[in-house]
Assembly symmetry: none
Homo-oligomer: 189 residues x 4
DNA sequence: TATGAATGAGTGTTCATTCAT
DNA sequence: GATGAATGAACACTCATTCAT
């Protein structure tokens, strides 16, 4: 691929993340093209379908989160790492995670995105396991409900104007509900 | 209104609830008409605007929930009532609550739906207060984060195929996070 | 026909004249029904087609004008009668004559309306002939161009907001153009 | 703009002039597309709104007439120029001038079309003035009634099947009515 | 006979996608 | 490889007309 093509691809993906994060699936491909300052035909040359465009944006997002999770795994305190990961996934994912629902229910979930999603999930699972081993998280908790809770808060706060402190309190509720009984989750500064 | 018209109206509302619950605002009025087995013109005779159709469906849903909440208020045990309400709102609301976000951010939230929504919220608030007085719910909890958590789980489980037990575990996490420390929420049968 | 039916018919015709006069053919049958305070089905029972409704309204208008022309024929001064007829047809017809174009170009011009139109035309022709015999109108003038001029001014002033004095001056121009050379048309008070 | 696009634009405008001239504002954009042999989406790409399409057609027509009027101004004989202008405006404008009323009463008359319309009116005014100075036209005549008469005949003859000689005689009547007393308007060959 | 309700065939408009340059 | 233009299929909505009550 030529260099200008690669640059275009990157600009388009960034624009897609912004547009679909803002308007959900209702966001138009034309608008993506406009923000990326390319012709719409260029968008379609890179991503032959609106769906593929969304998936590519998702993939990018998953990979960024995976990197972040990896960094947190290296953190000294598993309990701190755990809480930070949950918080970050909800907050940074807020605008973008809405995208998941746009492709998730299709039968043939795209190979690339599903792989990235699995990679992310396994790292999250690892942070979870460490939290459990450290006695900070209930042993019965599985990644599945954690994901559901994260996605829920991300979507809900993304689709309505939620005051930050309301979201913060909701996150605390979740963290408390996940934490080992007797150890309440300390609220961050 | 004639009887056949009332029947149509009811069928249309049910169809609208299903369609918009499934596809969000992207659901088409045509599809609603198809599922209700009426002409699209009939849909528009009953609800002159797509928005009004969505709002009417919302209103219906709010009122049903309000009735249910009222019934639960009359229940003997506040703690049981509280858990039942949360569970029911998430489960029955799953498909439908997604609709809230579709109209919630408009400036002129329609009188009917907003009133119904407020009525519901106040009853939920009452059930919450009773749960707190009975020592079953943390005193610091407010309706706002409860709503956010409910909406989150409802939307998230509605927009992806979630196994029932995953949803159940997530609900338990939330209920535990909301309950008085030391009193874990007993899982139902 | 029952009496209430006849009353309805009359109210519908009046409403039709108003509505189509205001909006032209774009006026909706529903609006006519609304102004006549009857159901739309009643409108269609009386006039099985929108076209037939328009034609009936036309016919009514033609007949009223014919009556008026007859009265003018009886007038003592042919020249005065002539000018009065032209003026009245343009002015009263302003709002309504637009209707003519709505049906005029169809092949099968409706029997009733065409008859009424012909009756009117023949009376206008008579007034014209008398004016010519009295030396007030050019002998070469025929009813055809007179009709075209009348319709033109009526339509043009009906479809745009025309100041009364502009219309009056235009009518004077026409009257002058029609009158015997050497005898300018005296402007009325 | 690419060349094929420019060609399409021109074909669309021509089609619009024909269609709206025939049916008035009731003419459908689909019909325009059909006559221009393009997809309806192409029509909307060029003119994002039916209104803008009508306006563009109007503007084109006004500009053509203005050019013609300018050419006539340069003509040696003001009386001849005057009569030729009136005749041409009525005849060529027949099908098209109907459009004026469709947009004229809107508050925000579109800048382009209104400017073009004003330019045309001022040139017509100039030809009128020259005719008056040459003693061919009554001094009391203003552009307003001239316009009303022109529009009237154009509309009336456009909306009904008028035999050419009837229209010609009507035009003569108008020209005579406008001309200086004692000087009848010579009929053209 | 009159009505409220239902309908089919449009209308203007948008958008994901393809084609010619 | 990138672009501007074109397109078909849909969408929300309207209206003349018909049907059941």
């Amino acid at each position: 691929m030529r260099q200008d093509a690669r640059e275009n691809r990157e600009r388009i993906l960034a624009a897609a993340e912004a547009v679909f994060g803002e308007y959900g699936a209702a966001g138009s491909t034309e608008e993506v093209a406009r923000r990326a300052a390319v012709s719409i035909a260029t968008v379609f040359r890179h991503f032959p379908t609106k769906e593929e465009l969304i998936e590519a944006a998702l993939l990018r997002h998953f990979e960024q989160l995976t990197d972040l999770a990896h960094a947190l795994v290296a953190d000294a305190d598993p309990a701190v790492a755990w809480r930070a990961l949950i918080r970050t996934m909800i907050e940074t994912g807020a605008t973008k995670l809405t995208l998941v629902s746009l492709v998730a229910d299709r039968d043939e979930f795209p190979a690339g995105a599903v792989a990235a999603s699995n990679r992310l999930k396994s790292v999250v699972g690892e942070v979870l396991r460490r939290g459990q081993e450290a006695g900070a998280v209930r042993p019965s908790v599985t990644v599945e409900e954690v994901y559901l809770l994260i996605r829920g808060l991300a979507q809900a706060s993304a689709t309505t104007r939620t005051p930050p402190d309301t979201l913060a309190r909701a996150v605390d509720v979740v963290l408390t509900g996940l934490s080992r009984p007797g150890r309440s989750a300390p609220t961050p500064a």
